[in-house]
Subunit: 196 residues, 2 copies
DNA sequence: ATTTTAAATGAATGAATATTCATTTATATT
DNA sequence: AATATAAATGAATATTCATTCATTTAAAAT
């Protein structure tokens, strides 16, 4: 029995992400992907059931990797500031080290594959973040608020900032460049907003 | 001379936005759009030079409408809290009254048309928001910070919250529903973060 | 060395894509 | 009423799309 070339499978996944990020879903096709990988289109249909399966499989796999990073060193019973800091470190590190994959997720989020992916992903955090918030509130470190409000204040600015950095949108005079200093300056303001 | 049916042109623009939002750029085509409008495909090429021109024209037009709303009643020399409140009111009102158009912009932002649109749009705000921030800082109402940091804290949470509302992503137990109360609760926290 | 089995392929499929064109239709001007 | 002119069309274009299939290739098992 011939054995499957796992390197080729990895190449397909990587090139798919790159292609989708570069040309959008509207400029992505199975034929182009095969060409970019220098394999036959038919081979793609050995690895995946079809285009949808390919995209969703990759999304799920990368989503799991991302979720794993986000959750590193984090426990729901950490102090408010320490828990928040670890969440910011984890997210920032992932976004910096996986800029392409992050843009891939941004594509997904506004595509027709959105729903099927996001549900799976969110479930993993719902419980742990929810528990963290509950603990922090019951210790009086933060006021009670809807989970979505907390999420928006706690992480909204971080994602916004990373987007400025990655998309190179300079709204200020000089082009914006992310740095540890800017990151923690922003973090400080977020803590100020949430902390009692 | 036969006269152009402007209602038909409007219908095309509206259906284009709806189609792109519903099926994404990957599920949008000139033929489908024509069918949805019950006109000939060829007619689309009388209104627009082609697919790209159609999308960019619509984006620019809607962008101008949005920019106009955002800027209503706003002056760079308003007090910190008043200026911020007006920005939040304007943005929130637009997002609530134009949920589809907002999702259309979200699609654009992560598509291959991104750059051509965003540059035009941002330019309109750069100056006025920049001036507002400068005034506020020089009056000592807020500490100096990069414009991007300000933007991320000031508006990041609002957009994040609206997204929770519109995409119906319930990360909390019960499905999240936006309300004036939640909006101003979040606004209060943002002010707390930024105000000296 | 032969057999078995799944991987990999090249070429093809019909459907959908963006765009064009010769023709028809409606209206403003003469 | 006749003419001029741009709007609107239906049908066609070549190209690209996702998917399939008969065939070949490589390696594990015999």
């Amino acid at each position: 029995m011939r054995i499957r070339d796992e390197e080729k499978v990895s190449l397909v996944k990587q090139k798919a992400i790159e292609g989708i990020v570069e040309y959008g879903f509207e400029g992505f096709s199975m034929n182009k992907l095969a060409k970019a990988c220098e394999i036959s289109v038919a081979t793609l249909y050995i690895y995946f059931k079809g285009k949808d399966d390919l995209i969703i499989s990759i999304a799920r796999e990368e989503g799991d990797r991302m979720a794993a990073v986000f959750i590193e060193n984090f426990h729901p019973d950490l102090s408010f500031e320490e828990g928040m800091r670890i969440q910011w470190i984890n997210r920032y590190r992932y976004l910096q080290q996986n800029p392409i994959t992050y843009l891939f997720f941004e594509q997904l989020r506004t595509s027709s594959y959105q729903v099927r992916f996001l549900e799976d992903f969110m479930v993993k955090f719902k419980v742990v973040i929810s528990a963290f918030m509950h603990n922090v509130v019951s210790r009086g470190e933060m006021n009670a608020m809807p989970l979505e409000v907390f999420w928006s204040i706690a992480y909204g600015p971080l994602y916004s900032l990373v987007r400025f950095d990655q998309e190179g949108q300079s709204i200020g005079g000089k082009p914006f460049k992310m740095s540890d200093e800017v990151l923690w300056q922003t973090f400080g303001l977020v803590i100020k907003a949430l902390k009692n």
